[in-house]
């Protein structure tokens, strides 16, 4: 039924004309579309490209490797280790994490309590946030998770760096430790580095780690990642590793520190060794100690309680934080104050009948029978108290306090450690300000023998000894080099003390060790080139009542541990050309000469010998005991020192 077509029909021409018009309109529209395309994709492409990148590209920070800490010989004392951990992302686990966790619990131990804790955390956090399930996995655990990854949806095994202290407890107090950043940490920092927000970042919490944070932290790296519209990471576009923190070389000698720690054993004690020429602290060791690695990994509550409840206070740093009445180790201060003030000279003598009466009060010498006629040198070698009672009344407390400060007591030595104590070098103004009371003569007498208000830390005593040994204003330091750049050793100014007076004090200290009647003669060094000078100290932690005195002096052995006297000892050697100054405080140790002096002498010997003390350096009758002690120690013997940056 084909309809005949009339070619001459007007409609035929009409459709041709309209068809062409239609083609024209359509061509116009197509041209408009093409122009718009060109405008967007050619002319404004850059602008859209930027918007697109902003849409999908996010910058993620990479935690930088923390700077290493070396001892003076290049031994790593704070390093980084691989930490294997697993994270789980709820979204990738398909929303329900529990079955995945149960499956994972067959590979690594997850306690029921931990399981509940994790489920709680997953419920709280966003579905795309990876949550750390377990860290510090062994390589075996880590690889078994990696192998089973297909059946553990959303579980990602990761490895990162974590702080490790190879010397464990030896340097726990001076180094401190790192830990995860807490809200409290953040609240203290103004404008915190964004890297602090990363869950795996470790911040120096206390000690050297905290004080040297800016050097050790390094610079965060960056990863540019592509994320989808839900914020999930799809792929990594570029990775720029961070800059490791600076390697810091400390003045410490890891072996000496280790020996000191071992020598103090289980005593509640502190030892400081200073190089008197440079001020380098070779050892600053508080005993007993703790394992800082436990704090890095998150210490368990029973472990923490055990540390807190220990009566020897392992967490306290007795070297800088602990302050003690210095006892007789303070006598050099009083003596020099007297000599400098001109109220006595080296030959001035005082008579010691065993006690003295001042203002109706009786002040006792430690020797009940008295020392008889005492001059400056024997006042030290016999540690006569009455000499100082008499001297104190002549020189007055203010000059004693001034001398104490010149020798480094009663002032804070600014070391990069936590809670460095200032100690107390008391004077009239101090007592007035502190107690609102006027200074009494009796206070001066107590202070003159390092009792009463006087307080000093083992560090301060070591500095005092170094200053006495050199006559210079020795300042202690802990940092030898940062990133291979040596910190210049300071040229210490002269203390301005009369060298003749210093010689008197040093002679007294020499006679403490080396004269036939010296109080610490037993602890002397018999090798002449290492000849040692020192001073004992015993400081009371309680008042001796008249009743007790009437019954006779109570032996420390008969007292409960925490009421016994503190034993102190300061020394330096070699006497002729001093190199090292040592101070040792043994809390509640009893007498300074019996307890503290042998420890200090052994540590000093180790420093002088740069190794295990040779037996022939100590008196013959002690050699056997020393050998036994050495055999019982588990000493740190590093292989070849690693000086390169690991």
């Amino acid at each position: 039924m084909t309809k005949p077509v009339n070619p001459a029909d007007a409609a035929g021409r009409s459709i041709t004309r309209r068809g062409l018009m239609l083609a024209g309109i359509q061509l116009g529209v197509v041209t408009t579309l093409a122009l718009k395309l060109r405008s967007m994709q050619v002319e404004h492409a850059e602008q859209y490209r930027m918007l697109a990148d902003g849409n999908s590209i996010k910058i993620r920070l990479l935690v930088p490797a923390r700077g290493l800490i070396h001892d003076r010989n290049g031994i790593v004392i704070a390093g980084n280790e691989q930490n294997y951990r697993v994270t789980l992302t709820r979204e990738e686990a398909g929303g329900d994490v529990e079955p995945v966790l149960r499956r994972l619990a067959r590979l690594i131990p997850i306690s029921d309590a931990r399981m509940a804790e994790l489920l709680d955390e997953f419920a709280k956090r966003s579905a795309i946030t990876p949550i750390v399930l377990a860290d510090r996995l062994t390589w075996e655990q880590f690889s078994s998770i990696a192998v089973n990854a297909p059946s553990l949806a959303g579980v990602t095994p990761e490895s990162g760096l974590s702080r490790v202290y190879p010397r464990a407890g030896d340097m726990a107090h001076v180094l401190g430790y790192v830990g995860p950043v807490s809200d409290y940490d953040l609240s203290k920092i103004e404008d915190p580095d964004p890297v602090l927000m990363l869950p795996e970042f470790q911040l120096g919490k206390v000690g050297f780690e905290a004080r040297m944070e800016e050097h050790l932290r390094g610079k965060a790296g960056q990863r540019r990642v592509e994320v989808n519209s839900a914020g999930r990471e799809m792929r990594q576009l570029s990775r720029q590793e961070g800059e490791q923190g600076a390697t810091v070389q400390m003045s410490l000698d890891a072996r000496l520190q280790n020996y000191a720690a071992q020598r103090m054993g289980t005593e509640s004690a502190a030892a400081v060794v200073i190089d008197v020429q440079t001020g380098d602290i070779l050892t600053i060791c508080s005993s007993p100690s703790f394992d800082p690695n436990k704090f890095v990994r998150g210490i368990s509550s029973p472990d923490y309680k055990a540390l807190m409840n220990h009566d020897h206070r392992p967490l306290a740093d007795k070297t800088v934080q602990g302050v003690y009445p210095p006892g007789s180790t303070f006598k050099m201060v009083t003596l020099l104050a007297g000599l400098e003030a001109g109220v006595i000279n080296a030959g001035s003598r005082f008579y010691c009948p065993g006690h003295t009466e001042v203002g109706g009060r009786r002040f006792h010498c430690w020797s009940r029978g008295g020392h008889g006629s005492v001059d400056a040198v024997t006042s030290l070698s016999h540690s006569c108290d009455v000499y100082y009672y008499e001297l104190a009344q002549k020189v007055g407390i203010d000059r004693i306090a001034a001398m104490a400060r010149r020798l480094g007591l009663g002032q804070r030595h600014d070391l990069p450690m936590s809670a460095v104590a200032e100690g107390i070098a008391p004077d009239r103004a101090w007592k007035q300000a502190r107690y609102g009371q006027s200074w009494q003569v009796g206070d001066s007498l107590n202070a003159s023998i390092g009792q009463g208000y006087v307080l000093a830390s083992p560090l301060q005593l070591a500095v005092m000894t170094a200053r006495l040994a050199t006559g210079l204003e020795v300042k202690p330091r802990l940092v030898r080099a940062i990133d291979g750049v040596p910190q210049p050793a300071e040229d210490f100014p002269d203390l301005g003390l009369n060298p003749a007076f210093l010689r008197v004090a040093r002679l007294g200290m020499d006679e403490v060790m080396n004269s036939a009647t010296g109080t610490a003669r037993r602890s002397r060094i018999v090798r002449e080139d290492w000849r040692m000078a020192g001073k004992t100290g015993t400081s009371q932690v309680r008042n001796i009542t008249a009743a007790e005195r009437a019954r006779g002096v109570v032996s420390n052995d008969q007292l409960p541990w925490n009421r016994r006297d503190h034993a102190l000892f300061v020394c330096y050697a070699p006497y002729q050309a001093p190199r090292y100054a040592v101070s040792v405080v043994v809390e509640h140790g009893g007498g300074g000469s019996a307890v503290a002096a042998p420890i200090a002498r052994d540590i000093l010997l180790f420093a002088l010998a740069d190794g295990l003390p040779p037996l022939d350096a100590v008196p013959g009758d002690q050699q056997e005991a020393m050998e036994e002690r050495h055999n019982a120690m588990r000493l740190f013997t590093p292989e070849a020192p690693r000086l390169t940056r690991a």
Binding site: P7, D9, R18, Q41, L51
Partner: protein, 379 residues
């Protein structure tokens, strides 16, 4: 001797008809569809079986339909134009009734495995009916008011049904498609002038009606208009799609980011990337060159259709060809303009490329009619 100069003495018959198909058109359609398959693979992240494979089966079936329809003589189409229109109209009413029972806007009827969308079918049957009408109507009456009113009613009746579904996009397509046939048939330009003026007035009225008791559009449709006018006003809400689409498209640049390298589309910033926004993926991954190539292929399809129409002395066949190619033109122009932010987002597929059964089958059905018109043109 070029193909366009090809002449035959008389209309081919039987199996020989296959030699007289508009083969360039067939290849152009296949080329566009192939671009579609490629993009469907890309948006599926390299997987063929997600979208590309079902689409290929549908396209293969569609090509068989094109060739089968090309064998059907013109008188058959003229004969079924009225019944087809009536059927579609009844189906639209049926959909409306089913929609009442179901929830919200229902646009299809499930007949066993086939999901029939009468509004899509109506696009073809309206063109058929109007072509038959103008073929029947003597040329001198074409612009007489009464004879203009009849096709207007024929257009507006189904449009009204589609509009209350509500499906504004398809309504506009029906009006525009019908208008193109009337335009080609030679209806006086004055009428078009009046209609355009009325449309502008209607738009003004619609915008004015917002927030009043007699609000003419749904709230979501108003929001789409707002979004179109200022996509940045609500970048994460209604404006999100358009902004993301423009960013993806523009960031493709001159040569694009490469196959499957489109960051925006792969990272799910782009919505509806396998259907309405597939052009954006193409533009992002193949850049200006890729987008222009597709636009050029579309233009060639329209060109071949128009040439076929203008060289066809059968008025009915000619009008069908113009009407169907016009509908096809509207499809891609609206989709492209939408994703480029030139028109409000209204959810229209990119013809032959977007994933989806109905629109592809309807388009291929239409091209079957175009082929039939071409094969049976008077010699």
């Amino acid at each position: 001797m070029s193909y366009l100069d090809y002449k035959v003495a008389q209309t081919p018959t039987g199996i020989r008809k296959i030699l007289y198909l508009n083969w360039p058109l067939v290849f152009l359609i296949a080329a566009v569809a192939s671009i579609g398959f490629l993009m469907l693979v890309s948006v599926a992240g390299g997987r063929v079986d997600t979208w590309a494979e079902p689409q290929m089966y549908r396209f293969a079936a569609g090509m068989v339909i094109i060739i089968a329809l090309a064998f059907v003589p013109m008188w058959f189409w003229r004969g079924i134009s009225v019944p087809a229109y009536v059927c579609c109209f009844l189906l639209l009413i049926a959909v409306e009734l089913v929609g009442e029972i179901g929830m919200g806007a229902q646009r299809w009827i499930d007949i066993g495995p086939i999901r029939l969308q009468p509004s899509e079918l109506m696009k073809i049957s309206l063109v058929l009916l109007l072509a038959a009408y103008y073929d029947w109507l003597p040329a001198r009456r074409v612009s007489r008011p009464l004879w203009v009113l009849i096709p207007v009613v024929l257009i507006l009746a189904p449009t009204g049904l589609v509009l209350i579904q509500p499906d504004l996009g398809t309504s506009i397509m029906l009006v525009a498609g019908g208008g193109i046939v009337m335009f080609a048939a030679g209806v006086s330009l004055w009428y078009f002038g009046v209609v355009i003026a009325a449309a502008v007035g209607l738009v003004a009225a619609v915008l004015e009606s917002r927030g009043t008791d007699w609000q003419l559009l749904k709230d979501y449709q108003f929001r789409r208009i707002d979004t179109f006018l200022d996509p940045t006003a609500d970048p994460l809400g209604a404006g999100y799609n358009i902004i993301q689409s423009q960013i993806a498209l523009g960031s493709g640049g001159w040569s694009g980011r490469g196959f499957m390298q489109g960051t925006q589309s792969r990272l799910n910033f782009l919505p509806e990337k396998h259907t309405d926004f597939i052009f954006t993926v193409l533009a992002e991954e193949f850049g200006f060159i890729g987008a222009m190539s597709l636009l050029a292929l579309y233009t060639l399809i329209i060109g071949f259709c128009l040439y076929s129409a203008l060289s066809n002395r059968d008025r009915f066949a000619s009008l069908i060809t113009v009407g169907i190619s016009g509908t096809f033109f509207l499809y891609f122009a609206i989709n492209m303009a939408t994703v480029m932010g030139m028109l409000p987002a209204k959810g229209s597929p990119l013809p032959l490329v977007s994933y989806g059964g109905t629109s592809l089958m309807i388009l291929l059905l239409g091209f079957g009619l175009v082929q039939s018109a071409h094969v049976h043109r008077p010699r």
